[in-house]
């Protein structure tokens, strides 16, 4: 596998591990707590890797991401098996970023050593909060001390690129309490932070319980204060919910925001290849049975790609450069630019030359802004058709 193909395109590879030790109250990702099916699942995933490896022979995989669910709860044996299969079936770039999501309760020395040996060079750990009461309230099964221990252990076993997850807008959370969590998490010296506002999804336990969350204004204050604190600690705010030390951005996740290609395998995993978006159904049994469960297959129309591009790029700190946009889609970007100009002076958007981007205040209301921008450029296009 040393020769690079003449026409090598980069590809991100996402593998979904739909298992967890227990289900968190807010999570609506596809995941089960059924231990018995892990073996069959891994076999099916390996089979799938082999099939898609053949189809993707022209690609070079430069990022691999094992997400879930909780990949770490699969244990060292299965994870090693999966990662070896990836190496065997796909052409992997030498400097490929390989990330595995871990939860504190299933992160031990054995697992970390196995991951390290399999070439994993980035860990993403779900910490969520430094307040044990908050952790319990949202259904996490670890304490902050355990999370802290897991991070320290990972350091000790040689991981130098660690991302931590945090949440804000939790029930009963105050701005002060949240910032205290941020500070505690910063003390763990992560290279990367993902910080998500809690969203109640109707199909989740918390969605059904529908607890009172902090007011929008309070949440906005939490977010802005956190942004400031992280900036002061040397983090770049490169996407709405993502912060990285210089050079430590998630290369895999960045693919989602610049319309690069990625292949996602496993039930509930999404792919975007050759202008097509598709998903493997959230059905573990059918997946194991090898059924054809591709769904939501959707050739993205050209005008929709512009919309997607705007929608995704505006999530990033770079935002959108109209010279790029015009070249990419052969369009006149004037209406988009006018829509941006109309928002200037409200502190929501800013620009440097032809590059326009949202401010942190703007990120907070990005749905409305993005809609407003997309509409300006495509007033007469009905996106349903």
């Amino acid at each position: 596998m040393s020769r690079i193909s003449y026409n090598s395109k980069a590809l991100g590879l996402y593998l979904h591990i739909p298992f967890c030790a227990s289900k968190c109250g807010y999570c609506d990702f596809y995941s089960l707590t059924d231990d018995a099916r892990r073996k069959d699942y891994v076999a099916a995933l390996l089979q799938h890797l082999r099939e898609y490896g053949k189809v993707c022979s022209g690609y070079t995989v430069d990022t691999v991401y094992l997400g879930g669910g909780t990949p770490s709860c699969l244990g060292p044996k299965y994870l090693t098996r999966i990662l070896n299969e990836v190496k065997g079936c796909f052409r992997l770039a030498e400097d490929a970023e390989i990330t595995v999501e871990c939860n504190p309760e299933s992160t031990d020395k054995k697992l970390l050593d196995a991951l390290k040996k399999s070439g994993v060079n980035r860990l993403s750990l779900g910490v969520q909060s430094a307040d044990d009461n908050e952790l319990a309230r949202i259904g996490r099964i670890h304490t902050f001390e355990e999370a802290k221990a897991a991070v320290e252990l990972a350091r000790e076993r040689g991981f130098d690129n660690i991302s931590l997850d945090l949440m804000y807008g939790l029930p009963e959370q105050t701005k002060q309490g949240f910032l205290h969590s941020v500070r505690q998490v910063l003390d763990l010296m992560p290279e990367h932070l993902s910080c998500y506002g809690l969203k109640l999804e109707p199909t989740t336990k918390m969605g059904r319980e529908n607890p009172v969350l902090p007011e929008d204004d309070e949440q906005a204050e939490m977010y802005l204060a956190m942004c400031e604190m992280l900036r002061e600690s040397g983090f770049e705010h490169y996407e709405i919910s993502n912060f990285a030390k210089p050079g430590r951005r998630s290369r895999h996740n960045c693919k989602y925001w610049d319309l690069s290609e990625y292949l996602g395998l496993g039930p509930g995993a999404h792919s975007y290849m050759n202008g097509r978006r598709f998903e493997f159904a959230r059905d573990l049994k059918a997946y194991i049975g090898g059924e054809n469960i591709v769904q939501d297959e959707d050739e993205v129309a050209t005008y929709q790609r512009q919309g997607e591009y705007l929608m995704l790029r505006l999530r990033t700190a770079e935002g959108i450069d109209f010279i790029d946009l015009e070249k990419r889609y052969n369009i006149d970007s004037t209406p988009y630019e006018e829509a941006f100009r109309a928002l200037l002076g409200r502190g929501l958007v800013a620009h440097q030359g032809t590059r326009w981007f949202l401010t942190e205040e703007g990120f907070l209301v990005s749905n409305s802004i993005i809609n407003c921008i997309i509409e300006a450029g495509q007033p007469n296009i009905d996106t349903n058709t």
Binding site: D216, R277, R346, T383
Partner: protein, 602 residues
């Protein structure tokens, strides 16, 4: 059949829900005027809306034949009446066509407001009122108490009132027997010139207008040339006859005392005013029947479609409704905020609501309406006088010499104990107390002069609320009086929203402006920037609220699988936006206009 002694013309007076329609159905059944199979529940109310609201909007009449215990066959004409103060005039015309009325009272609930008002209307027309106690099948039924109540409150003997259950079909025949025995047969001179009272009309696409009438004198027959005395319009009768539950029954002719219809290729209901007298063109009567009053719109409002492109549909719909409703008037207008629409005139608020609902239901239109207004009279400094029912046309204050607003003479009938509740309410609405008359030991009639715009919005509902539903209201346009009027403009983000402007008495303007600001604040979603809401008279701001800027509208996660979801979310938001009106830079949901309109209902 035209033996006058065997004719009985009657209507039914009842409170909503006290079983008027059900009783009507049972009477028809008993007379076998309609077979069980053909019988649709509540046959008389044949508009969907009526059935749903349980109210009768347009009068209908039906003839049935009843073979009485005395062996004779009687011609029974049931004339249905609408039941709301907006339609008081229609009620009075329907009653004028009868010699008697059934007073239906719920055996559990007793007498209620409408019953009282309409009963007095019936007594005013010298009708024989026959009480009937309905719903005796209810567990809470107490017929004896209710009969006593009828005697005490209305003062008519009720001891022998039939105790019935229209729902269960109990004792229906007794009602018919009472009608035969108690209600007098009609009088009238068959040989005299034709005099017929129009109590309703309806447009039929094949026959033109069908005129429903009661013949007082003379005869009518196909081929006869008739004249409408109020409008002067003349027509040749093509068909005449009487109404059966399931259609018309053409006859060779009708004569004095009978209730029936005629058609004469009449294109427009506007030629057939309710209350007008039909006479023979060749041999006209010298004297029209008393009590005619042309239908006069009292309330105006702008009606628009939510989707601006539906404007032509709205016009078609209004034209169709007008065929049947001479009291409805409309003309095109346009608004910066709402686009193209119509300025429509109505008899009152219920009439307005009914029309709006029929537009939405029968024509599948989504409407946005503006605040209703009465017609103001403005004397300008140049000496000219203009009428103004639209804030948009209100002259600049410096050009106004004198502003006048319409007043009505209102009469409120109420049991004495509620007088204390009613008087402050009337005062608060700038009513001028005229007098109070005792009708009997417990029933009182209050007379007020009131500004029309104080009475049209919610006065009737408020009155009912303060009198446990016992009071009744009637009002009549009286005159225009000098008034301290102001035009209040509403501004969103410093831009005037023409559709929300209103004219009010200065004293009332502040409170109203403040409440509108509050309502708008509640109903305008947070936007990307702060939106000030202001009410202003001239350039002076009198009320202000602020919709704070939106702080959070963000999808936290957007990775592989979230992209499709996010696209759907954005599309949903976009759909939601279609229901918004763009007013300058502000997005206003149509519900905000509705909420302002419903301001007075709280």
């Amino acid at each position: 059949m035209s033996n006058r002694n065997h004719i009985r013309n009657f209507s039914i007076i009842a409170h909503i829900d006290h079983g008027k329609s059900t009783l009507a159905d049972r009477l028809l059944e008993q007379c076998e005027a309609v077979s069980q199979r053909e019988m649709e529940e509540q046959l008389l109310d044949n508009m969907d809306l009526e059935r749903e609201r349980g109210i009768t909007i347009k009068a209908r009449a039906v003839r049935m034949e009843y073979k009485a215990d005395d062996g004779e066959v009687y011609e029974m004409n049931l004339i249905d009446t609408p039941g709301h103060v907006d339609f008081n005039y229609e009620v009075s015309r329907s009653l004028a066509a009868c010699e008697g009325a059934l007073l239906v009272v719920d055996a559990a609930q007793g007498i209620e407001a409408q019953t009282l008002g309409n009963t007095y209307l019936a007594l005013d027309h010298d009708l024989e009122v026959v009480p009937v106690v309905n719903k005796i099948d209810l567990p809470a039924a107490d017929p004896a108490r209710v009969k006593q109540e009828i005697e005490d409150i209305i003062g008519i003997p009720a001891e022998d009132a039939p105790e019935i259950s229209a729902k269960m079909g109990i004792n229906i025949r007794a009602v018919l027997e009472r009608i035969v025995k108690e209600i007098p047969s009609p009088e009238g001179d068959e040989g005299a010139p034709l005099r017929a009272l129009i109590f309703d009309s309806q447009y039929d696409p094949y026959k033109g207008v069908i005129v429903y009438m009661r013949l007082m004198d003379g005869r009518i027959a196909p081929g006869m040339k008739v004249r409408m005395m109020a409008t002067g319009a003349e027509f040749q009768v093509i068909e005449c006859g009487y109404m059966q539950p399931l259609g018309l029954s053409p006859q060779k002719g009708l004569s004095a005392g009978e209730v029936g219809y005629f058609t004469a290729s009449i294109k427009n209901v506007a030629d057939t005013h309710v209350g007008d007298t039909v006479t023979e063109a060749e041999r006209p009567t010298t004297e029209a029947l008393p009590g005619y009053r042309p239908a006069q719109p009292m309330v105006y409002c702008g009606i628009y479609t939510e989707d601006g492109s539906k404007y032509p549909d709205l016009r078609d719909a209004l034209e169709k409704l007008q065929l049947n409703d001479a009291a409805l008037s409309f003309e095109p207008e346009s608004s910066v905020a709402l686009g193209f629409g119509f300025r429509c005139g109505f008899l009152g608020m219920l009439h307005m609501e009914v029309i709006q609902e029929r537009l939405e239901r029968e024509f599948d239109l989504d409407l946005v309406t503006t605040l209703p207004s009465v017609i103001y009279q403005i004397v300008k400094t140049d000496g000219t006088t203009v009428f103004c029912d639209n804030p948009h046309d209100y002259p600049d204050p410096v050009l106004i010499e004198e502003a006048r607003e319409p007043f009505v003479n209102a009469s409120i009938m109420t049991p004495q104990e509620f007088v204390g509740n009613i008087m402050p309410m009337c005062q608060d609405r700038r009513g001028i107390f005229k007098d109070m008359k005792y009708l009997d030991s417990s029933l009182v009639e209050l007379h007020y002069e009131m500004p029309t715009n104080e009475i049209i919005y919610d006065f009737f509902d408020a009155l009912k609320a303060r009198t446990k539903g016992y009071a009744s209201l009637d009002y009549e346009m009286s005159d225009y009086r000098k008034s301290d009027l102001v035009k209040v403009d509403m501004l969103l983000n410093s831009e005037q929203v023409d559709a929300l402007s209103f004219i009010a008495h200065r004293e009332k303007a502040y409170g109203r402006a403040r409440r509108i600001c509050e309502k708008l604040k509640e109903n305008i979603p947070r936007q990307l920037f702060e939106v000030p809401i202001q009410a202003a008279i001239g350039g002076k701001v009198i009320a202000r609220e602020t919709v704070k800027a939106m702080r959070k509208d963000v999808l936290a996660k957007c990775y592989g699988g979230d992209i499709t979801r996010k696209k759907k979310l954005l599309e949903k938001q976009k759909e939601g936006k279609k229901k918004m009106r763009s007013l300058g830079t502000v997005q206003v949901p149509t519900e905000a206009f509705m909420a302002v309109l419903k301001l007075d209902e709280e």
